[in-house]
C-alpha cells in the first residue's frame, strides 16, 4: 500500500518547491511482543515478561510508550537501567532527532542496548498506525495523534492476542500499554480515547523499587513558583532575535562570564576587539557561560568600564528570596563601577536581550548545606566559578552532602534568581583524590575514559619484535652512543640525543624521536582516538595518556638498552654550532642509557668520567650554550612562570612536599636541541608542503596587552621597551633590583601574562610573515619532538615521512580543510590540558595546606581596587588578599572596623592604609591557611602579617587568629591618623 507525503520547501536560491514523496505502508511490521501470536516477527522478542516495570500506579504488567517530550526532558531518567519494555515509535525518534542531536545520540544508545528491552516500532510505515496529516493540524498535533494512534493500536493488538482461551487458562494478568507524556493536552486527548496515560513524573514516582530515580527527573516546571515576581527582563522571542540580528540592531556572540566578578561578563563579538561588556544582574539576564546570546549595545553615554573588584557570591539558601540587603550590595557594586567608569577607559557595554542557543552542559560541583532539615530543595554550587548556582530538588541531600556531584540545568525562568536543574550522578566523596581528579577532567572536557576495545585492537601484537624487513627499511644506528635525558620518573621518553666527532673535525648531532607514526596508522580507531584526545594531560600524580600505555610507556618509549624505532634528525655542525648539513631518516636505535637531568648534570660536571656518553654530553652542552646565546641575541624571550612540583605519597596520592622546579644546564641543553630539531623540521615540511604543513605560531601580542607590565615597571623606575622582541628581552634583562632578588622573575611572570597563546595552524591558511613565533624569535616553528604526548607531532612525523619517502601519504594528510579542523581541536585540547594541569596543582596546594598554617614571604603582584594579588614564590602560589574599603561594612567577618580604611590610588595603583602603602612588587609576609569552615568549598586564605597594620594584620604571636584583632585599636594609631589628616 502506498500513500503520499506532501510538503513545501524553500530552496537556497529562494525558490519554493512543492515536494511529494511516496510513502509505503506495510502490513508485515511486527509488534515485538512475545505475547503476540499474529505478527510476523523478524527478530528476537524485545518486549518480554522477564523484565517488568513495578509500578504502584499500574499494578498489572505493562509496556510503555514514550512521548517525544518525555525523551527530550527525561533522558537522564531513561539512561538509568530501570525502565524496561518500552515501545519506541519512529515518530518519536524522528522528532527527537530533529530537536536535539545530542539527546538523539544518547537515546539511540539506550535503544540499541539489548538488555534494556526497548523496541523500535516503525509506526510511520505500519498500515494501521500511519496518521496522515489533516488540514488545519499542526505538525506537532499530527505527531501527537500518531503516537496516540500507535498506542491505541498496540493496546488493542495485545488484548486481541491475550483473549485466547489458552491465555485465559494460564491465569496471567493481561499486559496493557501505557502512554507516558508530559503534554497535558495530549494526555487529556489520550484519556478521552481510552488510552492508559500518565505523566513521566507520576510514573517515576510510582516505581517502588527505585525511589531515588525521582531526583533525576528534569524539572521544567517546578511546583513552587508562587513568589513569582519576575527578577529578570523577558528574553525576546526567537523571531524577534533573528530579525534584530539581521537588521544589526542586536549582536550575536558567545557569552563569557567573569571568573572574578559574578555580576560581570563579556560577549565576544566580531566587530569589537575586546568584546562587549555586560554588567549587572539584569543586563546579564540569565546568560550562562558559553551561551550564544544576542546583545543590545547601550548608547555610548551609558558605557562603562570593567570593574576591578573581586566579587564572590555569598551563600544563599534555597528558600530565601533575594533580600534587600543583597540588592543593595549589587547596587553598591554598580555605583562603584559607574564611578570608576567615568574616569577609566570605557568600553562598549551592552545588555543581553535573548539567548540564541544555550550551551548548557553538565556541571560538577557540590551541594550547599541547607538550613532547613529534610527539605528537598537545595542549592548546588558549581566548581567552575563562572557558572551560577543551580537550584535542584533532591531527597538524598544528606547522602550527597559530602560528595562531588554532577548537575544539569533544565530551565531558567524569569522569576527565579538561579537556574533550575536536576541531579545527574555522584562522582564520589569530597576531598578524595580520585573524585577531585575526575572533577578536574570533566570540567576541562578532557576525554579520560578507558581506551575502547576497538582502539586497543590496533595495537601491535605482543611480544613485539623487530623483523628483518624493518632493519632493511631503516638506518641502523644501534652502535651510536645515544642517550636520553628526562625528568625523574618519566616513562614516556620520546626523545634521545647523540653527538660524535667526525673525522673532519666537525661534529655530528642527532635528535632521535620515538617513531609513533609507525604504530599509529592513519584513519584507524587508534588514530582517531589519539586525534580526538590531542594531547596527554598531566595532573599531579596522574597522567591521562593520549595513546594506550603499551605504546606510550613501552613500544614507543626510547628506554635505555632496548632497540626502538626512531625518527632521526641528524645535523653536521662545526665547532661554532653552525649547521652545515642536515638529514632526516627513520632509524633503529638502542639508547645506551636513560638519564635524569640530574644524572646527566653529574656526568658532565664530573671530569673523571671520560667515556663516550660523557664526551658526547659535554659536546652537546657546549653546542647548546652557543645555540642559546644565538637565540637570545635574536630576541627570544626568557619568560617565567612559577612552577612547582609536588612530592606525592604513592599510597594515598596526597601531596607530601612542595618544591619549586629546578632548572639545570641539562634542561636547557635538551631544550635547545629540541628547538633546533623543531625549527629544522618546520622549515623542511613548510617547503615540501606549502599548503598543508602543520606548524605552530606565536603571534606578537598587541601593544595594549603590555599596558599592565609597562605601568608596573614604570612605577619601579624601569622602562620596558615593547617595540620588538629583542628590545623587550633586553629591557627585561635590565629590570634588576638589588634589594629585591625576585623582582626580575616577577617582571618576567607579568610579561608571560601579556603574551598571546601559541597556536597550531596550517601553512596554507596564513601568509608567510604570520608564521612567526614571537617567544622563540623563530620565523617558523612546529612540534616534532614529542609524538607520544602530542598529536600535532604525529602529523608532523607523517608529513616529514611522506616528504622523504619513508612512508606513504594518504588523502587526508594533504587535505587542508581536515587539517585545519584538526588544528582547531588540538589548540582547544592543549588549552584545556593546560588549565587542567593548573587546576590540579591548585587542588594539591589546598590538600597540602590542610590543617597547616604557615607564614610565607610573598610579593604583591597586582594592586586591585579592593584586594592585593599576592604571589608566594616558594609554592608558585598566587592568591588574593582582600582589603576592606570603607563601604564594605557588613561582610560578616569580624575584622572590619571603620578605622581601618584602605584608600586606592588609581594614579599609581597603590593601596594606602595609614602610613602603610602597598605598591606592586612590594614584599609582604602573609599567613596561609586553608579555610575549611565551609567544608564543601575549601579555599586558601591569605592574611597579612607584615607590614603590620594594627587591626587588620594577624598577630605575629603564636595564636594569631582573627578573633583578637577586633580589640579596640590603641590610641597610638588614632594619633597617627590624626597627624596624617593635618
Amino acid at each position: 500500500m502506498q500513500t503520499l507525503r506532501e510538503f513545501t520547501r524553500k530552496t537556497k536560491r529562494g525558490n519554493i518547491l512543492k515536494i511529494v514523496r511516496e510513502h509505503y505502508l506495510r502490513d508485515d511490521i511486527g509488534c515485538g511482543s512475545e505475547l503476540c501470536r499474529e505478527c510476523f516477527q523478524n527478530e528476537v522478542y524485545q518486549l518480554t515478561a522477564q523484565h517488568a516495570n513495578q509500578s504502584t500506579l499500574f499494578k498489572f504488567p505493562h509496556y510503555l510508550v514514550l512521548d517525544t517530550n518525555v525523551v527530550l526532558d527525561q533522558i537522564d531518567v531513561l539512561e538509568e537501567d530501570v525502565l524496561r519494555n518500552v515501545v519506541v515509535l519512529t515518530t518519536v525518534l524522528n522528532e527527537v532527532k530533529h530537536k536535539s542531536s545530542s539527546i538523539y545520540k544518547r537515546f539511540n544508545e539506550i535503544v540499541h542496548d539489548r538488555t534494556r528491552n526497548f523496541y523500535v516500532f516503525v509506526n510511520e510505515h505500519h498500515k494501521d498506525t500511519y496518521a496522515d496529516r489533516e488540514p488545519d493540524e499542526t505538525a506537532n498535533d499530527r505527531n501527537d495523534r500518531a503516537i496516540r494512534l500507535a498506542t491505541k493500536w498496540y493496546d488493542d493488538h495485545l488484548q486481541a492476542s491475550q483473549s485466547t482461551k489458552e491465555f485465559e487458562r494460564s491465569g496471567r494478568a493481561a499486559t496493557r500499554v501505557i502512554l507516558l507524556t508530559d503534554d497535558a493536552g495530549n494526555r487529556a486527548k489520550a484519556e478521552a480515547e481510552g488510552i492508559l496515560v500518565t505523566s513521566a513524573a507520576e510514573y517515576v514516582k510510582s516505581l517502588e523499587d527505585f525511589p531515588l530515580l525521582i531526583d533525576k527527573l528534569s524539572h521544567k516546571t517546578f511546583e513552587n513558583e508562587k513568589k513569582g515576581l519576575p527578577q529578570y527582563p523577558p528574553h525576546l522571542s526567537m523571531k524577534e532575535l533573528l530579525e534584530g540580528l539581521r537588521q544589526n540592531k542586536l549582536l550575536q556572540g558567545a557569552f563569557q562570564a567573569s571568573r572574578e566578578n559574578y555580576l560581570e561578563g563579556s560577549v565576544s563579538v566580531e566587530k569589537f576587539e575586546k568584546g562587549i561588556l555586560i554588567q549587572g544582574r539584569e543586563a546579564l539576564n540569565r546568560a550562562v557561560d558559553g551561551d550564544l546570546v544576542a546583545v543590545e549595545l547601550l548608547p555610548e553615554a551609558e558605557w562603562s568600564a570593567p570593574s576591578e573588584i573581586v566579587l564572590e557570591e555569598k551563600n544563599v539558601y534555597a528558600d530565601e528570596v533575594p533580600s534587600e540587603e543583597r540588592a543593595e550590595d549589587e547596587k553598591d557594586m554598580l555605583k562603584q563601577v559607574r564611578a570608576a567608569a567615568s574616569s577609566a577607559e570605557r568600553t562598549p557595554t551592552g545588555r543581553i536581550v535573548g539567548i540564541v542557543r544555550r550551551k548548557w552542559r553538565q556541571y560538577c560541583g557540590i551541594l550547599q548545606p541547607s538550613l532547613i532539615e529534610d527539605t528537598t530543595r537545595h542549592i548546588f554550587v558549581p566548581a567552575d566559578r563562572k557558572i551560577p548556582r543551580i537550584r535542584i530538588e533532591t531527597r538524598q541531600a544528606a547522602k550527597l552532602q559530602n560528595q562531588r556531584i554532577i548537575v544539569t540545568i533544565d530551565t531558567w525562568p524569569r522569576n527565579s534568581r538561579y537556574p533550575h536543574g536536576h541531579f545527574v550522578r555522584s562522582l564520589g566523596p569530597l576531598g578524595d583524590m580520585a573524585t577531585e581528579n575526575e572533577v578536574i577532567l570533566l570540567e576541562h572536557d578532557v576525554p579520560h575514559c578507558k581506551f575502547s576495545d576497538e582502539v586497543l585492537s590496533f595495537l601491535p601484537q605482543m611480544p613485539w619484535t623487530i623483523t628483518e624487513e624493518d632493519y632493511a627499511k631503516r638506518v641502523d644506528l644501534r652502535d651510536l652512543y645515544i642517550c636520553s635525558v628526562d625528568p625523574p620518573g618519566c616513562t614516556d621518553i620520546d626523545d634521545a640525543l647523540h653527538c660524535r666527532e667526525l673525522p673532519n673535525g666537525n661534529l655530528e648531532v642527532g635528535v632521535h624521536i620515538a617513531d609513533v607514526s609507525h604504530f599509529i596508522r592513519p584513519g584507524n580507531a587508534l588514530d582517531k582516538e589519539a586525534a580526538a584526545r590531542g594531547t596527554t594531560v598531566y595532573l599531579v600524580g596522574k597522567r591521562i595518556d593520549m595513546v594506550p600505555e603499551l605504546l606510550s610507556s613501552n613500544l614507543c618509549s626510547l628506554v635505555g638498552g632496548v632497540e626502538r624505532f626512531a625518527f632521526s634528525c641528524v645535523w653536521e655542525v662545526d665547532n661554532e654550532a653552525n649547521v652545515l648539513s642536515k638529514r632526516f631518516h627513520k632509524s633503529v636505535i638502542k639508547s645506551k642509557r636513560a638519564m635524569t637531568y640530574e644524572e646527566a648534570q653529574v656526568i658532565i660536571d664530573d671530569a673523571t668520567q671520560q667515556n663516550e656518553i660523557a664526551k658526547s654530553l659535554r659536546n652537546l652542552n657546549r653546542l647548546a650554550k652557543i645555540l642559546k646565546k644565538r637565540r637570545m641575541d635574536s630576541g627570544a624571550l626568557v619568560l617565567a612562570s612559577p612552577e612547582i612540583r609536588f612530592q606525592v605519597d604513592s599510597e594515598t596520592h596526597e601531596p607530601l612536599e612542595v618544591e619549586v622546579k629546578q632548572m639545570r644546564e641539562t634542561n636547557s641543553m635538551v631544550e635547545e636541541f629540541m628547538l633546533l630539531a623543531n625549527i629544522t623540521v618546520a622549515e623542511h615540511i613548510a617547503t615540501e608542503f606549502s599548503e598543508c604543513a602543520v606548524l605552530r605560531r606565536h603571534p606578537r601580542p598587541p601593544p595594549t596587552n603590555f599596558d599592565p607590565l609597562v605601568k608596573a615597571a614604570r612605577y619601579q623606575g624601569f622602562q620596558v621597551d615593547i617595540d620588538s622582541g629583542l628590545e623587550l628581552s633586553h629591557s627585561l634583562d635590565k629590570c634588576v633590583k638589588a634589594d629585591n632578588p625576585y623582582f626580575n622573575t616577577m617582571i618576567r611572570i607579568l610579561t608571560t601574562r601579556c603574551m598571546m597563546q601559541a597556536v597550531y595552524f596550517i601553512s596554507g591558511s596564513l601568509q608567510k610573515e604570520e608564521f612567526f613565533h614571537y617567544g622563540l624569535a623563530a620565523p617558523i616553528y612546529t612540534h616534532f619532538t614529542s609524538p607520544i604526548r602530542r598529536y600535532s607531532d604525529i602529523m608532523v612525523h607523517r608529513l616529514l615521512a611522506a616528504s622523504i619517502g619513508a612512508d606513504s601519504t594518504y588523502a587526508q594528510l594533504l587535505e587542508r580543510k581536515s587539517n585545519e579542523e584538526l588544528c582547531h581541536n588540538l589548540n582547544y585540547r592543549h588549552k584545556m590540558a593546560q588549565y587542567a594541569g593548573r587546576a590540579s596543582v591548585a587542588l594539591n596546594t589546598h590538600l597540602f595546606f590542610r590543617g597547616k598554617e604557615e607564614d610565607e614571604e610573598g610579593y604583591v603582584l597586582f594592586v586591585r581596587k579592593n584586594a592585593l594579588q599576592v604571589l608566594i614564590p616558594k609554592y608558585g602560589l598566587e592568591g588574593t588578599l582582600y582589603l576592606k574599603s570603607d563601604k564594605d561594612g557588613k561582610d560578616g567577618l569580624e575584622r572590619t572596623k571603620s578605622e581601618i580604611v584602605f584608600t586606592f590610588n588609581e594614579e599609581d595603583y597603590t593601596q594606602r592604609c595609614g602610613d602603610v602603602v602597598f605598591h606592586s612588587f612590594d614584599p609582604v609576609t602573609v599567613r596561609l591557611s586553608l579555610d575549611s569552615s565551609n567544608v564543601q568549598h575549601e579555599k586558601l586564605i591569605f592574611r597579612l602579617v607584615k607590614p603590620y597594620i594594627k587591626g587588620f594584620s594577624v598577630e605575629t604571636a603564636t595564636d594569631g587568629s582573627d578573633g583578637q584583632a577586633v580589640a579596640a585599636p590603641p590610641p597610638s594609631k588614632k594619633t597617627k591618623k590624626d597627624k596624617k589628616k593635618k
Binding site: T3, L4, N15, K18, D132, R133, E134, A139, E243
Partner: protein, 296 residues
Amino acid sequence: MAYVALSEAEKTYILHGVEDDFRCDGRSRRDYRPMDLETGLVSNASGSARLRLANTDILVGVKTEIDVPNPLTPDFGKLEFFVDCSANATPEFEGRGGSDLAQELILSLQNAYESPLAFDYRTLCLIPGQQCWKLYIDILILECGGNLHDAVSLAAKAALFNTKLPRVTATLLDAGITDLIISDNPYDCTRIGIETVPLLVTVCKIGDYCLVDPSAEEEVCSTVSVVVSVSMRNGKAFLSGTHLTGGGAMHRDTMRNCLDLGLAIGEHLDRLLTKMLNLEQERVGPKRPQTIGFLK
C-alpha cells in the same frame, strides 16, 4: 493539425448535416460533445486538470516558482504556457511534428490571457517589484479529436482553479529587502481567482453556417474558423481576443455573427465549468483525493 483523410462524399455528407442543423453525431450547431473533467490528479504539480472532450484528451499541470517581476509591471506576477503535443496523440506529432500546432495554441492562449482584465496578474504578486509567483501551465495533448483550442482552455482554467499556492509571509529585512517564509502546513494555501480567466471558443464555418466544437472530421471540411476568447466580468461576457485559423477569409457580417455566437457559447460554457468545478471540490473536500482514477 492532425490530418484526417476524408472523401468528397463524406465531406458533402457533413456539409449537408450542418446545413440541416443535425450533425453526424446528432448534435445541433451550438452543441458541445460530452466532456469528462478531473482535477488535482497530478500530485507533483500545484494544480492539475485532465479534460476529455469526446476523443480529445488534454492533461494540464501547473507548477509554481518564485520570480522577479518585470520592471515595467512591478506588481504583476507571471504566467507561462507550454504545450506538448504528445506523439501518443497521433504519429504525426513525432519529433518536431507537433511544434507548429503547439506554437499556435500557445499564442492563442497568451493572446487571450494577455489583458490584466482577463487574468488578474496582481494576485500572483508577493512583493511589488521584488518577488512574484510565476506559474508554468504545462499542457499535454494526449489525443486529438478536434477542437483543441476549446479543450485546452477549459483544462487550463480548471487546472488554475485547482492550483494551490503555499501561503507565504514576508519579513522585512534591512534596506527594504524582504525574506519569504513559507507556512509549514501543506494545507495552508491560497487559491487563484478564476472568475475572469478566459475560455476559447472555436467557431467554425462550414458552408454558410457557423458551428461550435467541431470534430476532427468537421475541421477538415471547414475553410475558416475564428477562435473567440471569452472572459467573464461581473456576469457579462467580454471578448479578450480573437484569432483566425484555416486558409479562408470571412465576410464582416459572418465575423460578427461568429463573435456573437462565440460570446454566447463562452458565457454558457464558463458558467457550467465553474459550477462543475465547485461541485467537484465540495465532493472531494480539502484533503488530497484518494489515489484512484486516471494516472494511478
